[in-house]
């Protein structure tokens, strides 16, 4: 067997609690309760084990990490473990005081999600009145403190026409980076797919617009894009390959190869309460289920892109074909590719099913 790869990134979902209700939330439909959350001491151990395993970046995420009253201790522990510590926040539920304490604790970077450049639309998407204003204020405070800021925009039908305005907003906030991420359809987003799905024309225009914006703002802001994969020809190399680059710890301590992995039935996830992280990385059944590329059937078997995209996303393969080992049907070579185009053509103006506990 090939040498075990070393992970580079850890997504630490500190809690599933969140004041917002975004209909594309990446958390699972079955949210974990506060009573099951790991304590700060356990997170501290996990961070040390992660660094020893090779992890360099930790992303403190959720839910809304600000819902944890011990967030500052958790961030300090991550820094102490030697990890590059990034806070991924909605900006709602974090006070300017907390932001200052996080800065003092050594936080390296902040990522704030903003739902739209239009305040009314942004609040409607988040399902929370006043969210836009609060996010704006918190992002400004982070920059004032000297923290590097990334603005994250999740793109879908309700905001896809305002990408350029979002980049202007990020520039105004003095963000160093903006992530323009088209919705990926898992969990809540899958449930809301027809309400979120842009038209093919909108997607084509948006992709061209992002290229243009990148040229226009070169040297002023880094624009990273997550492609709209239902409209792609090739699948994304999901999480850089299963069990290859990253791991995800849920609020209760379950360790997943990616945040959506629980959507694949019959996988056995181990918990940091029972096992050390290196043991989980090397030996847990879930991590070994799709490691490497040997399990991939045709058309991936023998395909020259097999080591580039690893056959795409296992969760998407399962969700759209019923077989987690199949080629991700986003690939135009997949026998199920026509199904993706059919689904991408369905737009319905139904109310969002907001993400709620």
């Amino acid at each position: 067997m090939a040498e075990l790869p070393k992970p580079l990134g850890l997504l630490a979902e500190l809690t599933h609690r969140c004041p917002l209700g975004c209909p594309y939330c990446s958390n699972p439909l079955a949210l974990e309760s506060r009573d099951d959350e790991l304590d700060a001491g356990t997170w501290s151990r996990v961070f040390k084990e992660a660094a020893a395993l090779g992890v360099l970046h930790v992303h403190l995420s959720g839910g809304e990490p600000g819902a944890r009253h011990d967030l500052i201790d958790i961030a300090a522990n991550a820094r102490e473990a030697g990890l590059y510590t990034n806070l991924i926040t909605s900006g709602v539920g974090i006070t300017t005081r907390t932001m200052r304490d996080l800065w003092e604790a050594g936080l390296d970077h902040v990522q704030v999600s903003i739902q739209d450049a239009d305040a009314v639309s942004a609040d409607r998407i988040a399902g929370y009145r006043g969210a836009f204003q609060r996010k704006h204020a918190l992002a400004a405070e982070a920059v004032r403190l000297g923290l590097p800021l990334t603005v994250n925009l999740v793109v879908h039908r309700a905001n896809i026409e305002r990408i350029s305005e979002m980049v202007d907003l990020a520039l105004k906030l003095k963000a160093g980076r903006i992530e323009i991420a088209h919705v990926q359809y898992y969990g809540w987003a899958l449930k809301n797919r027809a309400a979120l799905m842009p038209t093919t024309e909108q997607v084509t225009r948006a992709v061209a617009e992002v290229d243009e914006l990148r040229r226009k703002h070169q040297g002023k802001i880094v624009i990273d894009a997550v492609v709209p994969d239902y409209h792609a020809r090739f699948p994304k190399p999901c999480v850089g390959g299963w069990g290859r680059r990253s791991l995800n710890v849920t609020p209760s301590g379950r360790v997943l190869p990616c945040h959506a992995a629980e959507s694949i039935p019959d996988l056995t996830f181990w918990n940091v309460r029972d096992h050390a992280l290196d043991d989980i990385w090397a030996n847990s059944p879930a991590f070994n289920a799709f490691r490497g590329t040997d399990f991939l059937p045709a058309p991936c078997a023998g395909c020259e892109r097999r080591e580039i995209d690893f056959g795409g996303c296992r969760c998407q393969a399962f969700l759209l074909t019923g077989d987690a080992r199949a080629t991700d049907p986003v690939c135009h070579l997949s026998p199920h590719h026509a199904r993706v185009a059919e689904l991408a053509a369905v737009q319905e103006d139904t109310p969002y099913a907001y993400r709620r506990m």
Binding site: K6, L8, A51, A52, L53, G54, L56, H57, G82, Y84, N86, D108, H109, Q111, G146, L147, P148, T150, G176, R177, D224
Partner: protein, 95 residues
């Protein structure tokens, strides 16, 4: 200040907030970390970057490295300059 491809002797290079040099045994040594980005630093690059604190001048750093490694100052100066200008262009270093 950097002008063209020259760093002035009294420039005080520093890693900006959000860019950090760290040692990770499992990854085999020193790495320079930024948001969503990782650069492996070889032993020489690490020695240079450790000195980019915003306090030492470029000339001072070159002198120190030339002494520490018992190497010709001009060569050290050229190598250091190349590394720092490359990083500055990627916004991973302030000059």
């Amino acid at each position: 200040m950097a002008e063209g491809d020259v760093i002035s002797d009294d420039a005080k290079p520093r890693l900006p907030r959000g860019v950090r040099l760290t040692h990770n045994e499992a990854q085999g040594g020193w790495v320079l970390l930024a948001p969503e980005r990782i650069f492996k630093a070889d032993a020489i690059a690490a020695e240079i970057l450790k000195r980019c604190t915003g306090e030492a001048t470029f000339a001072g750093i070159v002198d120190e490295l030339a002494t520490a490694f018992n190497a010709p100052r001009e060569r050290i100066r050229a190598d250091t300059s190349k590394l720092l200008l490359g990083l500055a262009e990627k916004k991973l270093l302030e000059l």
